[in-house]
Subunit: 302 residues, 2 copies
């Protein structure tokens, strides 16, 4: 059984520090219940900040016929950990949370737009049966159009996010725009959704499931983590480590919904190990907080 | 009858030069047939360059199930003059054509994505009757997904367009991303399409038609012209003049399809005059070339 993720066989020259090097603030030996509570509260605080940022950006204003469905569909989509991971990665490399909020919001917006379109009632009925019917508050045309408005708004938010007082890093924001557009576009999330359409009758084959989860979830989480590291001022090693962590973590989180396929459990185990390895070069409490994303599927799911 | 476009009553302090100041290369007194041929060849050369730029960017490659429909739907959409106007505006302010090709391509991609979604067969049949049926080469789900992939690709193209050898203007590209995302999003094109849904039974009322044309066409042309001026290094006055020219020109081009409504002809006449006024501060042959966009609806329509 081949795990077909990139970088898997790449020898890294990044110095892997022994675990005992983890800073004194590490929560590794903390009683489990306390650690779990800390994890939940960390991710919940990020999600609340991203929600606030989005809520301010998408206020319902005239024309209400445009902004009411935009507001509604933005928050109707379940949250994605890719968005929160962007903020956590920024903090892990020593950046300030505020620097990552526009990018985290843009990731949520791309995800919300895709979610709205994924559940549109189209005339062909060839969708995977596993997709649940969702409540439609608006006409299909309006939901289609609104998704088309939500996605570019994410990029507008990002492009305008540069603090005019800090004109030193427009290149970081451009890099983040390129990352997010790629991960949410035809080489990432859209590719995963395409594949899902293509393999309808073979959706129980684990290698297809793995491919779909990597593209649909892995790439977006990878890009979220990389963007956070870029915005937080991480170096290239840190950015690539966090990108791989995100790829593994996002794929695992997708696969966890398919645990009934026997081969999947093996893949999940291996990906979890790989994800943790990527974090070993980092110090401090946030390493434990970030790694919790791989072990607790209930985190960051609204 | 009120013409409800912004900036209409704004007194400008931009020095309006008398027409006789136009450079010696002006084609103003050229026989009409020659001028028309020159106009056509100018816009055709821009369109060919944008087409080449896009064609290189969206090569059909694996996975073909993703890139074949992406390539197909990108070129299945009729061209938009907003894209060509971006290049012409860049040249008008003295910039190099190559600097505007990524932005012009991004505008075409946003337009192509909207076009694909506008013609999707949705389950509700409430679309304006005037929209013609188009040939669908792919399943609705694939066309929906492909549109969702085309739009972010436009932003990726833009974000990656900065010449690594010229690191001096990332802020211009960020500004252009903000412009295009706004014009193609909920405050521009998507707003126009929303309004079109809303006023189905009143679509013959000229004030609604004017609003829809301003939002659906005017704003995108305005942004195209402004982006070209930004990328070509135009000053703020030039950027705003060209933005207004684009707004009037794009609205006129949309309204020309509705000339059967009597009030529309009056509006068109006034908007044409306003568009030309905005060009009076510029010199040289390109002024005549650009103004032809307002008078010849057949230009830049594939």
């Amino acid at each position: 059984m081949a795990i077909n993720l990139p970088h898997l066989n790449t020898k890294t020259t990044f110095p892997i520090k022994p675990r005992t090097n983890l800073g004194p603030s590490s929560a590794r030996y903390m009683p489990r219940a306390i650690a779990v509570a800390q994890n939940h509260s960390y991710w919940a605080s990020i999600e609340a900040d991203v929600h606030d940022h989005l809520n301010k950006a998408i206020q319902i204003r005239p024309p209400e016929t445009v902004f009411e469905p935009m507001h509604y569909l933005t928050f109707a989509a379940p949250t994605t950990a890719a968005s929160a991971l962007c903020v956590a990665a920024c903090e892990l490399v020593g950046g300030d949370r505020a620097e990552a909020l526009a990018a985290a919001s843009a990731i949520h917006l791309m995800h919300a737009a895709a979610y709205a379109h994924e559940h549109l009632p189209l005339t062909d009925k060839s969708r995977p049966e596993s997709k649940p019917e969702i409540h439609h508050k608006f006409d299909p045309n309006i939901e289609l159009l609104t998704g088309d408005g939500i996605a570019p708004f994410g990029f507008e938010l990002l492009a305008r996010s540069m603090d005019p007082a800090r004109t030193d890093h427009p290149d970081r924001i451009l890099r983040v725009i390129a990352e997010i557009s790629r991960a949410c576009g035809s080489q990432g999330m859209i590719n995963g959704l395409h594949k899902e359409e293509e393999i309808l009758d073979q959706y129980s084959r684990f290698e297809f499931v793995e491919y779909v989860c990597k593209k649909k979830y892995g790439e977006v989480h990878a890009s979220g983590a990389a963007c956070g590291a870029i915005l937080g001022g991480g170096d290239d090693e840190e950015i690539e480590r966090l990108r791989r962590f995100g790829l593994y973590a996002g794929t695992v989180r997708g696969l966890m919904e398919k645990e009934n396929i026997p081969e999947i459990q093996n893949i999940i185990r291996k990906l979890k190990d790989l994800a943790l390895e990527e974090l070993e070069g980092f110090h401090g409490k946030n390493t434990d907080l970030i790694s919790s994303l791989v072990f607790e599927p209930s985190l960051c799911v609204a």
